[in-house]
């Protein structure tokens, strides 16, 4: 086991897969000499060369579109969208093309593509460097979406994504890149796509979450433990496929559920989680499902005050958990 940051987990997954499989290559904005704006691919150009560490023109639709074509032709492209906020011009390529290629050709063509992109707020990124995009994409069957929150998951899920036969979007919370450190297994390993992880076991209530919020939820749960409230934290890790079994297991075990995400509430991933529980475990509950999410305003503002008001924090999470425990 080695201690790494999330960023190092991402880097090691990319590096190891490029060494392991010649078909793997990276394409995106500033991935070459600059080594990506977060320095994730620092040194890759020297090691793998220009062809496999490809600086693209500043045009997101073609970053994804060209990567799709290469994937259909047998390569394993890792397309990078510099910030998730920039992915909108590529929306059709992701949802209209990549997600449908296997289906529309009845298996004749496939699209083993990875789209990596940093998302999320809390870094003073203002309107166009703070967004969470998962709810816009998780409505598209044919696409997989993973949201790692720990260094081990970042490395293991990205490795799985690169080896997957279908398109996978990897959403990396940019605030976790250097903030979150953790133990990562040595050698070659993967984390399965579609499997949630219990980040903290508990019996009184559960918080179902993903991404940066997993860490805040665990912190809140530890604080509540001192008051005798024993909370479980379930980290989804994959948004699609979503681990229904794990959701229902935590819901039925704890009988009280707080759904937590940074993305806006209305129509967000939490709505689906709540619906899964309502359909299959409603009568197992002792209290209605509660949601703590980003507010339904168009974006996170630049001023510190806007950002703090937008992002769920440990205090708000703790308060919501207390309320739920008492309900």
């Amino acid at each position: 086991m080695a201690t790494k940051t999330v960023l190092e987990g991402v880097r090691d997954a990319l590096y190891n897969e490029m060494v392991r499989d010649e078909r793997v290559f990276i394409m995106g904005e500033d991935v070459g000499p600059r080594g990506n704006v977060f320095r994730i691919t620092d040194g890759f150009l020297d090691k793998f060369g220009r062809q496999r560490v490809l600086d693209t023109p500043l045009a997101e639709a073609s970053i994804v579109g060209v990567a799709i074509g290469a994937a259909m032709a047998g390569m394993r492209p890792v397309a990078e969208i510099q910030f998730a906020d920039f992915i909108y011009p590529a929306f059709n390529q992701v949802v209209g093309e990549a997600a449908k290629i296997r289906y529309r050709s009845a298996g004749g063509n496939t699209c083993p593509l990875v789209i990596r992109t940093p998302y999320g707020g809390g870094v003073r990124g203002a309107l166009s460097h703070s967004v969470s995009v998962e709810a816009l994409f998780y409505h598209a069957p044919g696409l997989k979406i993973v949201v790692p929150s720990t260094p081990a998951d970042a490395q293991g899920l990205l490795t799985s994504a690169i080896r997957d036969e279908d398109p996978v979007m990897v959403l990396e919370h940019k605030k976790t890149y250097r903030l979150v450190k953790g133990e990562v297994p040595d050698g070659d390993f993967t984390v399965p796509i579609g499997k949630a992880a219990v980040a903290r076991e508990g019996k009184d209530l559960c918080v179902i979450t993903y991404g940066l919020m997993r860490h805040l939820a665990v912190e809140a749960a530890e604080a509540l433990a001192k008051d005798g409230i024993d909370a479980e934290v379930l980290d989804l890790r994959s948004i699609r496929p979503m681990d229904k079994e794990a959701i229902l297991a935590s819901a039925t075990k704890t009988r009280r559920v707080l759904v937590l995400h940074e993305d806006q509430k209305f129509g967000g991933v939490g709505a689906e989680i709540a619906a899964i529980i309502a359909e299959d475990a409603l009568f197992e509950l002792d209290a209605p499902v509660k949601r703590l999410c980003g507010p339904d305003v168009p974006a996170m503002g630049y001023a510190k005050e806007y950002e703090e008001a937008f992002m769920p924090n440990v205090e708000r999470i703790t308060a919501a958990m207390r309320e739920l425990a008492a309900a």
Binding site: G65, A70, A73, S105, A106, P141
Partner: protein, 338 residues
């Protein structure tokens, strides 16, 4: 051939009399498949048809310029003749028209003419205009990375060149000198919108200059002229000298699709006038003048094609449609979502 040639001229590289007759036969087969699709639609037997009448020459000329078994087609939904030249059969064409379970392109999922035939080097496309152009570039990038000799032909109409992604694809291909050829089948209309409302220039080929690649105009109603233009671009790409844009000027002889009515935006005079540009009789005269074929050959070719299309229709009509269970296949490699 019995008739004496009136004109003697050298054929372009790679073309033989046999190939010219084969090209002609594919154009005729395409026309009959197209006519059959619209007839079946009028009979209420198939829900939809999209024509390629007027495009047969540009498509046959381009497809024959490629190296069979090596090069790839990334076509658009009007490229029936190209697909037939690349080995798609009349039976396979009719299977997609009838949306049968065993339609090899999509198992009855896609609109007609959305080919996906990996074993014959035709890539899957959607109906979204110009979305496939970057895919063709990506495929060519893959060939370049692997040092393979293949070239990709990417086709589209003039309307597609208004899409931002078309420009992104041209730019990317030129920067990275990927082995592809962009073929614009300029038929003067995007459904109802004429070229003058699509762009302020006369020639789509002029756009190539902005990306640093050659732009070539050819008569898209002449398969031999198109062949020469595309062949040169293909070989240039194969040498590693980068992409080209070819504009084949043709026209659309019918409404956009079976759901369109061209009389709402074209005059009867205009519709009548374009018939004079029909590439098939034009090619017949060309072949005859040079002694490559005669009336008897044309008649036999039409007869053979008609028989093939009749048989294909009967076959496809009798095949099973998809079932409800087929709805759930090919979502992911691992199967449907739970």
């Amino acid at each position: 051939m019995k008739s004496e040639p009136r004109i003697r001229a050298a054929l372009p590289d790679g073309l033989t009399a046999e190939k010219l007759r084969e090209m002609y036969a594919k154009m005729v087969l395409t026309r009959l498949c197209d006519d059959r699709a619209f007839a079946l639609n009028r009979q209420g037997k198939i829900p939809f048809a999209a024509t390629c009448q007027g495009h047969e020459a540009v498509q046959a000329g381009a497809a024959f310029a490629l190296r069979a078994g090596t090069d790839w087609l990334v076509p658009y939904y009007r490229d029936t003749c190209m697909a037939l030249c690349f080995g798609v059969t009349a039976r396979e064409q009719l299977m997609c028209l009838f949306a049968r379970k065993n339609d090899i392109f999509s198992s009855g999922r896609q609109f007609p003419n959305h080919y996906s035939v990996p074993d014959r080097h035709i890539l899957s496309i959607s109906s979204i205009i110009a979305a496939h152009v970057t895919h063709g570039v990506g495929m060519a990038l893959a060939f370049k990375m692997r040092n393979e000799p293949a070239v990709v032909l990417i086709s589209f109409g003039e309307g597609a060149t208004s899409e931002g992604e078309w420009h992104e694809a041209m730019n990317f291909a030129a920067i990275h000198r990927v082995p592809c050829v962009f073929l614009c089948e300029n038929n003067e209309y995007a459904i109802s919108v004429p070229q003058r409302l699509q762009m302020a220039i006369q020639n789509v080929a002029d756009r190539a200059a902005a990306y640093g690649m050659p732009g070539v105009i050819c008569d898209g109603t002449d398969p031999v002229v198109t062949y020469s233009a595309v062949r040169e671009a293909i070989e240039r790409a194969r040498r590693g000298d980068g992409p080209s844009l070819i504009e084949g000027k043709c026209y659309r002889a019918m409404s956009h699709t079976s759901d369109d009515n061209q009389l709402t935006y074209r005059t009867p005079e205009e519709i009548e006038a374009v018939k004079a540009r029909d590439p098939i009789p034009k090619f017949e005269a060309w072949l005859q003048d040079r002694g490559f074929a005669d009336e008897a050959f044309f008649a036999q070719t039409r007869k053979d094609a008609a028989k093939e299309v009749d048989e294909a229709t009967d076959y496809a009509e009798a095949q099973a449609p998809p079932t409800e269970a087929d709805l759930h296949t090919h979502v992911y490699k691992s199967g449907p979502l739970s």
